[in-house]
């Protein structure tokens, strides 16, 4: 199926090197490079329209790149310079589409059997593997139903069963849960995580929901405007965002401009002076991570804030605070009751701040 491996055997389940792609004059993907080790999950995270689906369609072969190189399981599948362009059916993948894409004229079992039939698996074995895949997603009893007679979550499970039934070397998920309501989404994330771990799948998981990406992935690539901003493990991403855009997209905390003064830096509009950071230039941005903040004036550094909104949540209160003297908003949850208009002091340690250059404006 896949052309003979040219790279060291099975070093990568997927390797994308400098891939670019445009729709006419509009450049949609720019110099994308990612690697994925076998048995790992890559999360592709980014705002709507940043090119996630396009990248996934390039991997699946439904689109072809303008430049660059794509390798699946060690075999080159798309290298425009060398004229290599394997059609989707020759790439042996599994894929879960955002809109399920189940075939309405076939029963659930026949939908799931399709990839096996395409591989000319014998009828008996086919039947057995379909039953196993359907059991795995908890739909063993619904094999003879039509997809239209299933609920949204069940349909998505069928789509997942169809993607894994042929045990492909790589499974692609395109926002598989975005059409489901929140409750179902949360259970399904866990189910998918279990399934991926159990089958030791290599997978690319596209989403614009960071909690989904952080839960499921071994590595997360954050995309913005057709580029990859950062690729890192979920832990590194949360603790060491590479750019203010990543911090902003992940809503890690409050981004504020700071300016150099005689004895260090000050957050513009407040009297707060920060010690000298390891940063050159006259201006910068700092990220004040939400998890670095404590209520109270215990220090080392203290910010004065006003409560703008206090909303009751199941876990306590969700507060929106404005830093006094500035337009910047901080989101925080708290268990002690406060109301709009109250003044609150927040404490943090300056070493928890993350510094970014000022030119790097989030869009």
């Amino acid at each position: 199926m896949i052309s003979s491996p040219s790279a060291p055997a099975q070093s990568h389940a997927l390797a994308i090197r400098s891939v670019s792609m445009s729709y006419g004059a509009e450049n949609v993907l720019n110099d994308i490079s990612v690697d994925l080790a076998p048995g790992q999950v890559l999360g592709l995270l980014g705002p709507s329209g940043c090119g996630k689906t396009t990248l996934l369609r390039l991997i699946s072969g439904l689109l072809l790149p303008d430049a660059g190189e794509i390798e699946i399981a060690g075999g080159k599948v798309a290298v425009p310079e060398a004229g290599i362009a394997l059609p989707p059916e020759k790439r042996g993948l599994g894929m879960v589409f955002q809109d399920y894409a189940l075939w309405p004229h076939m029963s659930v079992a026949r939908n799931v059997a399709f990839p096996l039939q395409m591989k000319r698996v014998g009828a008996a074995e086919c039947k057995e593997r379909v039953a196993k895949a359907l059991d795995r997603v908890g739909l063993g009893a619904m094999a003879e139903r039509r997809p239209s007679d299933l609920s949204g979550g069940q349909q998505q499970r069928v789509a997942i069963a169809r993607a894994i039934v042929a045990e492909p070397p790589l499974v692609l998920f395109d926002e598989p849960l975005s059409n489901l309501d929140r409750e179902l989404r949360e259970t399904m994330v866990e189910e998918i995580a279990d399934l991926v771990a159990e089958l030791n799948l290599s997978a690319v998981y596209v989403t614009h929901d960071h909690s989904e990406a952080l839960t499921l992935s071994d590595h997360v690539a954050v995309m913005r405007g057709g580029r990859i901003e950062q690729t890192a493990s979920p832990h590194d991403l949360v603790n060491h965002p590479a750019t203010s855009a990543v911090a902003d997209f992940l809503r890690l905390g409050c981004l504020m401009p700071v300016a150099r003064v005689a004895d260090g830096w000050t957050i513009e509009g407040t009297g707060l002076v920060l010690p000298e950071g390891a940063f050159e230039g006259a201006q910068a941005q700092v990220l004040l991570p939400e998890k670095a903040l404590r209520l109270g004036a215990s220090g080392p550094s203290t910010l004065k804030t006003t409560v703008v909104r206090a909303q009751t949540r199941s876990t306590g209160q969700a507060l929106t605070l404005r830093v006094t003297g500035t337009p910047h908003l901080i989101r925080l949850s708290s268990s002690s009751p406060v109301k709009a208009g109250d003044m609150l002091d927040l404490s943090f340690s300056p070493e928890d701040l993350r510094w970014f250059p000022i030119s790097d404006q989030p869009t």
Binding site: L64, R91, W103
Partner: protein, 567 residues
Amino acid sequence: MARGAVATGAEGSATLKWIAIIGLLLVVAIPCLFIVVQAIFPEFGSGSFAAPFSVFFKTLIDPDLFGLAGNTLLLGVGTMVCAAILAVPLAALRALFRVPGALIWDALLLIPFMIPPYIAALGWIMTLQPRGYLEQLTGIHLAPLLFSVTGIMLIMGLNTFSVVYFVLSRTFETIGARYSDVGRVFGAGQWRSFWRITLPLSMPGLAASLLLVFAMSIEEYGTPAALGRRIGFEVLVTGIENRISEWPIDLPGSATLSLVLVSMALVAFMLQRWLLTRRDYRIVGGKPQAFDKKELGVWTLPVSLLFAFVAFLATGLPILAILATALSRTISGGLKPSNLGLDHFSELLGAGSEGLVALGNSLVLGTTTALLAGLLGAITAYSVVKGRGRFRIVLDALSITPNSLPGVVVAVGIILAWNQPWLPITPYNTPFILLLAYICILLPQPVRYATASLHQLGDNLEASARVCGSGPLKAFVRIVFPLILPSMVTAMILVFAVASRELVASLLVAPVGFQTIAVFIWQQFDQGSAGLGMAMAFCAVLITTLIPLALISLLRWASKGTVAGLR
């Protein structure tokens, strides 16, 4: 599906693309090409390209041509006017007022679609001619009106106005619900809001449906041939038919006239398309919403009588006349119980009768045409939707060309193309030539249905089959085709109904001695056996209406609602 410009990794099947190209070249492009070549090179038939354009210009400045083209325009415009006069008031009444029995009138006004115009025209002749049924019943006959240009327009108007009626009553209803109620909120009365809002907003729809009537009437052969010839009123269609079927045969002349006729139909067709794709018409689409219709009050009875009268003229009278003729032992015997009997039917359906053979021929040809045109239509629509670049434009253009090719022109093209003496083998003089003609005439129907339902399919249904390991051809056969099949069946039924009783192309290209339903009826009527012809006409209307209806309800029952698209 694929959006054009971008290099997609999941190209449509190349096999299907070539089937579409070769099919369209064979069925559509070749006849068109031969008409053009013949019009330019008059000696082409004898293998020479000598004297290009000599006859072309001679025909173009021929006063004959001006006469024919003028008559054609006159007939088209007159029919449009008649159809508008019949349809607009009825549609307005139907849409804005609570007309008693509205659904029954709607159903009755559908019947003109099921009666081929030439059969209706023959029915009118039997009724209005001297000593016809009207005279037998009332003592007066209207032959002077019937055999006049106005009479032809009236009868063609009656045959075609329901197209306008259905489009317009729907448009009126939608606009009435959506916009004129708003007007009334701002203080316009019912009539004011109809004149100021509903009617102007319906204009594009009205114009488009009237253009369709125009195209239908300039392409029609049966009615002008049956009525006009007696008074020497010739139009382009009959002129072309004359030149190709009567001695001395004038191939270059018929080719040139064909080009003129096609240009007229093309203009009407393009105007219609332009009207329908303009933005202001799109807001009018959609389902009529429930809205408050006015009571008719004292007008209830007159309005019901008006509906009954028009429905009787358009539907009841032709059918009754056909039935009466079919049941009369002799025409001269008149409408007397002693003269009535089933003799013609038993002659028609008796063992070994010519009529039975013709009936069988038409049913087989109709079915084959439906299957082949359906398949070619689906493959063509798929290739166009998946295709890119110039190839896609050419294919698209070829597939809708027959919309502006009247049956007589298709016949001329096919004769010119396949009757060339140097061809080693040719389908000419075999029933296959009829198949080629019917597929060409009817191809736009399945293409239109298939394109519409392909656009409704989600992009990803085919994409996911490809990712699952299926090649393009297999994805078409296993996924795309089954999903568009329900609407293809509807299209194929339509094709069957029209193909099985097509008249003019059958008259011109049928092999010697080979009869179809239409040819049989036409010849019997010509030879004075109107009774036998009308018995066949009655059977034809019945069969070509009942078989499709039965098929549709069978399918609906069999699919039990599991197949989307069969409503």
